[in-house]
Symmetry: C2
């Protein structure tokens, strides 16, 4: 099986250049559909510079619009929301962020404070991924297109979710994949994507992990601690979820027999740039704040197509890797010679 | 591995209905591209009824246009061009037809003769698949569109080949696949397609076969025999080619462990109907002559896209099936106890 998977990986990379196409303008729906058919990403530079969001979203405007709205904030000690955390006993856990509500004003203040002065404080990131731009940030929604026309027409559907991402340099979204076609647009600051094609699945060391959640250590008086002292609360449930445990920025740790065959693509989005991130592509995402000390992006998720060959063959690769993991490399031959 | 392949096949068929979409009109390039992306076939009924070919191609017109042109004809004893033939020793061979040239007029005469009166004679089929409509049948080319607009625009390329198929009820094209996107249009008579998705590859019992060719038995005087006495000339070369040996019309013969999971789709094209046959779909094709005793079709082959996930994962399934074939089911444990 090992050679079969190896040939697959090598074959895929031979036929697909390890570069991201850069388009000079937005694709037509048909051009977009060709990328969807090939499940390959592209970038369009400065395409959103005519969006109201691009023109208007400075700190003063955001404060004015969002004023005293309560927004949901993910809180972590190190910026690692939805991340693999190694426990002292060596076990890996998939740890979700602590979630709390802040007045938008206070949240933005915290984001904008220079990192040095905030170092011991926890990292906060607005990243709820639950269609938040049409919910809690609805006041900002008129500043972005309600849909990406080429995607809506090509995929014959409206966006399933429109999300706002607002944070500082310390927030990192660890390597994962989504079963969505994703149009990602940077508004302020930069986003740094590391991308891996779905074919690289055997390289990312997916493991079934138990889940946990960061909880702030409570101080003696029972109030939430304002320092970044966190405990991890392990879920009661025995349920485990598949998590990519390889980190392309620590390429020699948590490897599999295939990791060296992975071909990570790296791309940075600047203000106004758009990325098409095809369904099931692994992505690790970090960011650099803009002139006013925050990074902000908007993305559109469209349901992927589960029919056809792609989804099924993707599941096949996952099953193969899983089956191989369960097969002992050297069969134990135990012989008892009775006389 | 067996269960992995089984889950893949079952998963594919759960997510893809075993029916062929029927469109009420030609798709737009974008609509077509969605089918290409999903690698799923469709039929458009009576879409070619405004083609000159549909209006003009009766026997008299074809004779007048092609007059005394020489055309290449595939000749077989039973109508089985490019077919698997079992030899007396049980070995399977992939046998190509005998190829010869006829005056078009004589060829059409033979096709049109009532089958009964011709029974002992060999079966003839114009099926050269080498862009013949732009070559030997070039005089008929103005009667068909030089390209299929929705396909040309969607795939951003012209047809790689345009082929004419002309034969009678006895010709059958055995189950095979092509690495082309295929637009197939019936002009006279009917075509009966049995289709199998590329996911059904494990079901069709692909084997590496030696090649042969039908050659007419020569009579005592050295002239080609006019009866259907044929010998098979086995190729000198040791080269073997992969051939689907399962026949969906003899479902219980030459099966694999997966054949029962195949979901053959059947569709008949009538005069003026169009089929989109996606790349790598297996197809077995038979025909019924029209009012004037011949069946005639035209098809357009477009190069498929080898990038993206489809081709690579298709090769993976082939490699898995191959690897499984090479793995003995019950490991032979030979022990020698020496005393
Ligand atoms: O921007 C981020 O931090 C992560 C984005 C992401 O994971 C997504 O768009 O699916
Ligand atoms: O029409 C036939 O006999 C076979 C057609 C075929 O194999 C094709 O179009 O690829």
């Amino acid at each position: 099986m090992t050679t079969t998977i190896t040939s697959f990986l090598e074959g895929y990379h031979e036929l697909n250049a390890a570069v991201i196409d850069e388009l000079s303008e937005q694709p037509s729906p048909l051009e977009f559909m060709r990328y969807v058919a090939r499940n390959r990403p592209f970038v369009v530079r400065r395409v959103a510079t005519d969006w109201q969001a691009y023109r208007r979203w400075d700190a003063a405007y955001l404060r004015q619009m969002m004023a005293d709205e309560q927004v949901k904030v993910a809180v972590t000690p190190l910026g690692n929301a939805d991340a693999v955390v190694e426990q002292s006993d060596g076990h890996l856990l998939f740890v979700e962020p602590y979630e709390t509500y802040h007045l938008f004003n206070n949240f933005l203040n915290e984001i904008q404070r220079p990192i040095a002065s905030r170092e011991p404080l926890p990292v906060k990131y607005a990243q709820t991924q639950n269609d938040n731009l049409r919910e809690e940030y609805a006041r900002l929604l008129p500043d972005v297109p309600s849909d990406i026309p080429f995607a809506r027409i090509a995929l014959d559907q409206s966006a399933d979710a429109v999300n706002l991402w607002l944070g500082d340099n310390r927030s990192v979204t660890s390597l994962h994949k989504d079963n969505y076609e994703n149009i990602y647009v940077q508004i302020r600051g930069q986003k740094h994507f590391v991308l891996l094609a779905p074919a690289d699945m055997p390289c990312v060391n997916e493991q079934m992990l138990r889940q946990g959640r960061y909880v702030p250590a409570t101080s003696a008086n029972g109030l939430e601690d304002v320092t970044n002292a966190f405990a991890i609360e392990i879920s009661d449930s025995d349920e485990r979820i598949p998590v990519a445990t390889w980190d392309p920025d620590l390429p020699d740790e948590r490897t599999t027999a295939y990791t060296h065959l992975a071909k990570p693509l790296r791309v940075t989005l600047n203000e106004g740039d758009m990325l098409y991130l095809p369904a099931m592509w692994y992505h690790k995402v970090s960011q650099t704040v803009g002139a006013e000390g925050f990074a902000c992006a908007v993305n559109y998720w469209y349901d992927m197509d589960f029919s056809g060959y792609f989804w099924s063959s993707n599941a096949l690769v996952r099953d193969m890797v899983e089956a191989e993991r369960l097969t002992p490399k050297y069969p134990k031959l135990e012989m008892q010679i009775e006389q």
